[in-house]
Amino acid sequence: MSSKTLSIAIMDAPYESANSTTALRIIHSALNQGHNVNVFAYEGAVNLTMKEQAPHANSIKGTTLAQENHPTTKDWISALFKLAQEKEITLNWINCGLCVDERGAGNWIDGVQRGGPADFIKSVKKSDGVLVIPTR
């Protein structure tokens, strides 16, 4: 199968909406099929990649940290970067710089870059498919 490129814009902050996991599943599927993916994280979505995210145990369920295997979005996204590397394709992840500044969300995992709306438009022009997932 020939490699294509998908550009995707996302807006939701982690742990607030089904949209975040859906977006990451879509990115995973594209990468898994050998396609390059450009992500533009706008507004709350810049928090998806914050390095300080930490899993927790669940006292209500009585599970330990290890038993709970609590997800963090930054770990899911790190795994997507690793998948792209293994498949020798590109996952280009840009966090909107102004959105980062107003949220103090500048400490992020490896692979993420700072950018702006113009970067999203540049990636759209080079893409075979574009998807915008808004927040509400």
């Binding site: 807006m11 702006g116 438009i121 022009k125 927040t135």
Partner: protein, 126 residues
């Protein structure tokens, strides 16, 4: 590159952002060379109402200035040759009076929305 940005959700964090983030983004897209148009549908048609005056927002001694002025933002966008469309039925359902709306907006019926999509290379529903 012709893009139609559809705005439906209204007043989402506009007091914190001092903007509607999609109207702001749309102007950034224009600056990046996109031929951008806006379709207001659902509650976002309320952005057309003139003289939206957010109340005096303050917290303790912090007085917030520079409130969002969404009607003004749209007027500025229209002045910058951004076409703004709005769904007529959504305006009627919300009892918005024509004389209270900003000028320069193209009203379309719900049944014309699909046809409008045809004019654009990309249609993004925010």
């Amino acid at each position: 590159m012709k893009v139609l940005n559809i705005v439906e959700t209204a007043y989402r964090a506009t007091l914190e952002e001092q903007d509607d983030t999609i109207l702001w983004l749309s102007q950034s897209f224009q600056d990046a060379g996109v031929d951008i148009s806006i379709l207001l549908r659902g509650n976002a048609v309320n952005y057309l109402v003139k003289e939206q005056k957010p109340f005096n927002l303050h917290f303790g001694t912090w007085k917030q200035t520079q409130p969002p002025e969404l009607d003004r933002d749209l007027e500025i966008m229209i002045d910058k040759d951004i076409s703004v469309y709005a769904v007529a039925e959504d305006i009627q359902e919300r009892a918005l009076l024509q004389e209270r709306l900003i000028d320069g907006v193209s009203l379309i019926e719900k049944s014309q929305v699909a046809q409008l999509f045809e004019q654009f290379e990309y249609v993004w529903h925010w």
